[in-house]
């Protein structure tokens, strides 16, 4: 459950990260590939080497979607409807991977924000990313 304060905090953080969406997104993906090599199997059609154009553009896409959701968390199911369909019927990424990616996103945020990634911000972000992942997998079955 996200409190009003937490929703505001999350919206603020993601808004401040939109200018560096590419870097944060690519960083999180690279971390996931390094720690959880099985996740690379979903990207055999892309060049996912560090700083590759594919990696940067894909990272940017993901972060912008997360940032968009953060602007109105109450409406996540509406905002994510097209992505729900995409993940359920086309990408069919096993949802356990969403947890792995979320963890790596938290690490990327910690590296980027240092001390500003306080325990309270961490808690709020973890809750938001869990909710995001849950909504994303809603149409799977």
């Amino acid at each position: 459950m996200l409190s009003k304060k937490e929703k505001e905090l999350i919206a603020d953080i993601w808004e401040s990260l939109t200018p560096v969406a590419e870097d944060i997104g690519a960083d999180a993906l690279l971390r996931m590939f390094a720690s959880y090599p099985g996740t690379k199997t979903y990207f055999s059609h892309l060049d996912i080497s560090p700083r590759s154009a594919h990696l940067l553009s894909h990272g940017k896409k993901i972060v912008l979607a997360i940032a968009e959701g953060a602007q109105d968390i109450g409406q996540l199911t509406v905002t994510l409807a097209p992505l729900q369909t995409l993940h359920a019927y086309q990408l069919r990424i096993d949802p356990t991977n969403f947890k792995l990616f979320s963890h790596c996103m938290l690490v990327a945020l910690a590296c980027h924000m240092g001390e500003d990634f306080t325990p309270v911000a961490h808690a709020a972000m973890d809750k938001y990313l869990s909710a995001f992942a849950a909504v994303l997998s809603e149409k799977y079955r």
């Binding site: 690490v107 910690a110 990634f117 325990p119 808690a123």
Partner: protein, 147 residues
């Protein structure tokens, strides 16, 4: 037995040799209690854990955080025999403390985040993978004596 690459050994030694146990330990444990509040169930006699500020300022939490980190140091010094290193602690957590072993991962995830925040850019994906592997083996050793 776990196989460590030269990179992994060097990375783990490096991270822990540079670490300030007095701040990282408390930071990791208190973060765990804030981010995953149900873990507070094991700390009923630690006093005030009512909110994030209370947890972060709680001296018993701080002291226990340090204890945990000094225990991790033993693992860093015995990377080739983590199972035996943590056998006694595993029994303690299972028989006496009755801690659900799933909680160990929550704590190590928070430790990873604390280290990441401190190391910033130098905490690369490869360094993260090495630290997570080490912590995962420690967690596994701690869960081994449960039955």
């Amino acid at each position: 037995m776990v196989q460590w690459t030269d990179f992994e050994r060097a990375t783990i030694q490096d991270i822990f040799s540079k670490m300030d146990y007095e701040t990282v330990g408390p930071a990791a444990l208190s973060r765990c209690l804030v981010v995953y509040p149900w873990t507070q169930r094991y700390f009923g006699n630690f006093g005030n854990l009512y909110n994030a500020a209370a947890i972060m300022g709680n001296p018993l939490v701080a002291k226990h955080g340090q204890t945990i980190l000094y225990s991790l140091e033993r693992g860093v010094k015995n990377m080739d025999n983590l199972k035996d290193t943590y056998a006694k602690l595993s029994v303690l957590h299972s028989e006496k403390l009755r801690v659900d072993p799933d909680n160990f991962k929550l704590l190590t995830d928070c430790l990873t985040i604390v280290v990441a925040a401190q190391m910033g850019k130098t905490f690369t994906g490869e360094v993260q993978a090495a630290l997570q592997k080490f912590l995962a083996v420690v967690v596994s050793a701690l869960g081994r004596q449960y039955h």
